[in-house]
Amino acid sequence: MMESLVYIALFAPFASSMFSALFGMSPRQTFVGIVASMLLFISFVASATLAYHVYHTGASIHVTMMEWISAGDLTIPFGFIVDQVSVTMMTVVTLVSTVVHIYSIGYMDHDKSFNRFFSYLSAFVFSMMILVMSDNFAGLFIGWEGVGVCSWLLIGFWYHKADVTREENPSISPSWAANEAFIMNRIADLGMLIGLFILYWNVGSLQYDVVFSALPQLSGTILNAAAVALFIGAMGKSAQFPLHTWLTDAMEGPTPVSALIHAATMVTAGVFLVVRANPLFSMTPEISYFIAALGTFVAFFAASMALVNRDLKRIIAFSTLSQLGYMFAAAGLGAYWIALFHLAAHAFFKALLFLGAGNVMHAMHDELDIFKMGGLKKTMKWTYIYMGVASLALAGIPFFAGFFSKDAIIETAFNEGTLVLWAILVVTAGMTAFYSFRQVFLTFEGDERYKAFGIHPHEMYKFVLVAMSPLAILAVIAGFGMGSFEHFVTKLLPEYHMSEHTHHIAWLLGLVVLAFAVSGIILAYKKYAKKLVRDEKVENSFIYKLLANQYYIPNLYEEFISKPYAMISEHMWKDVDMKIVDATVDGIAKLLYKSGDGSRKMQTGNLSNYLNWMAVGGVLLLVVAALSAMLG
């Protein structure tokens, strides 16, 4: 019974994808979206049932479908495991996907590639399910690459748009952004592959249980190498510095895609990997500390860029990046279940935030510049409420989901004695509150700047708003499940307890964070709630420009990686391949031709000359014979 539920949860999205693909090239059909959403809902129900089952019995379900690759000593099955960790991911993924699917019926209403969109979206969910459910690293890698491809397809969904300059659109074009995302992920995937190789050759298997039980026997170097390699993989998928640029460019995709893939699910795969491989990472404290430090850095780094950005979706993308940093910080510090909890909570409110942004875009005819919006609360009351709730959750205001999870992470940083990380995370929390509400206020409050552009905004369809409600509710209440969640997942993940000391001053720590968050909101309110006042001096300052241009990192990548690569390739072809390698071959051929041409002159047609040559040859032979007789 439970086994078939596993398959239903896994293959319902696949069925949905195939069904939509059937109509991929035909004109828009609403029922395609409906069927796809229903199949996704079935998958959600199956996942939820499995979650309930696992919660109650505490046992995990392990199925093996068939053998995939078997060569030499290597055997990789298609095996799936439903345990506390994966079932959490499954539920989150299918829930958000179902909402996003329904949302897309409304959002993609006017798009002629409606059916194709659903095909890709469901394919993505399928890959994600493989990723989280697999019982071995190779299966994880299938999902890992699968989501990469779906992300490529979906970012480049509007492939027909032309490339423009970076000044006009920082992501150049959807297809450019899609390729960037795919290639950057591939760089990380190489690391991941190497990690798999290290594990295989030292353990002899890629199954989680075999690998984890064999870890204590491995030397420190091997463990460190494996941890580093796997984390490189995680860095790519979760867009950690320096592989982070693709995530903001990925906003070129349709907004539901950003909500599902680039906020709630795919980008958290890196965190999932670290959580999944916690036995490995908890044995490599240096690497784990590096993960935490990098996560903290990215949290701050991304938040700083979000402060000044004007693009509605990019702000949310930066905040995603920042929150991923929080998750890595937690995971790196050993609080795996807190990382997973923040992952789930974040998925709800961030998806909600993105979908809200989608509503705004829909209303504003794809305008994304928040400086051109303002005062939308009149026409878009529900969207305002949703985005407000999501932002409150993101900012970590008490009793919203983010409060519990983020606070726990910051507390962990304190508890581990890493006060620098703690301080940065606290400051970042304040920045998070500021930029979230800067965005909300600029969009919904203040003067109605959009009128100058002749836009007539309207609220999203009712059913879409209803579909979004589960996320809104979860964004509010998810935090209250923290206790039972801890109880649930720590059956698999290591428990994490605050020390006595931390426990005692927890309220004080919480208050500090809250103070930063509230002051961030107040600052945003003061600056942006009434009307937009632009300060030329600030906008022309070096720091502002640096932040607005993402520290010029994309430009640096282009100048120092893409362009040189193209140039070297050109040289390799035109100079090395054509002028050296091929010319050498042709040179040999020419030499033969030349020597033939030269010796053609010997062919005088005069017998006498031939006789002379013959005599020369004969005498030479004689001399050789004589010499060899003499010497031999």
């Binding site: 002379n612 005599a615 005498v619 004689l622 014979a625 004589a626």
Partner: protein
């Protein structure tokens, strides 16, 4: 003793005569020298006890071959000096000299091998002709017959090649011959 005298005499004469053959501009001189040289070579054969070979040499070379040459020469204008651009003398004598030197060196070197044994030894008492006959008609019968056939073929070939249009003169009035005309034109 007489053998030494004969050997040196023949040697000097043949070398001289052949030199004349090779260097002379006049075909008649050359041919005469060649024929005389051949005769002297048969002398070598007689000294060496190869009587039969010597006789064959006289008959075939001096008799038949030289006769053929003389007849052939009737077709050409033999009285004229031959005008030809001889190959660069330096090269010729370098190659000739070198080959002579090397060959002489090789032949003058002592032969060390004891493994050389007579395959068909000569019999004491039996005449040379007898010996030759026995070997030729037993061991070398097939080659001998083949050689005979070859000679026959060569004879027929010679007749056919040379005999075509024998009725026409080669030296006079060739313009009458169409074939020659066309060939000359072609050339």
């Amino acid at each position: 003793m007489y053998e030494i005298v004969a050997f040196y005499l023949f040697s000097v004469l043949t070398i001289g005569l052949f030199l004349v053959t090779v260097m002379s501009k006049n075909v008649l001189y050359a041919m005469t020298a060649l024929a005389s040289g051949m005769v002297l070579i048969s002398g070598f054969f007689f000294i060496l006890g190869a009587d039969f070979l010597g006789v064959v040499q006289l008959i075939v070379y001096v008799g038949a071959v030289m006769a053929l040459y003389s007849f052939a020469m009737m077709f050409f204008d033999a009285t004229r000096d031959i005008k030809e651009k001889n190959t660069n003398a330096g090269l010729v004598f370098l190659l000739g000299g070198l080959s002579a030197l090397v060959l002489v060196l090789m032949f003058a070197a002592p032969i060390h091998s004891d493994a050389i044994q007579a395959l068909y030894p000569m019999h004491e008492g039996a005449g040379n002709a007898q010996d030759v006959g026995i070997v030729l008609f037993t061991k070398y019968l097939v080659p001998f017959e083949v050689a005979a056939v070859m000679l026959l073929v060569a004879m027929i070939a010679g007749i056919i090649l040379a005999g075509k249009k024998m009725d026409q003169s080669l030296t006079e009035d060739t313009s009458a011959d169409d074939e020659i005309m066309t060939l000359k034109d072609a050339k």
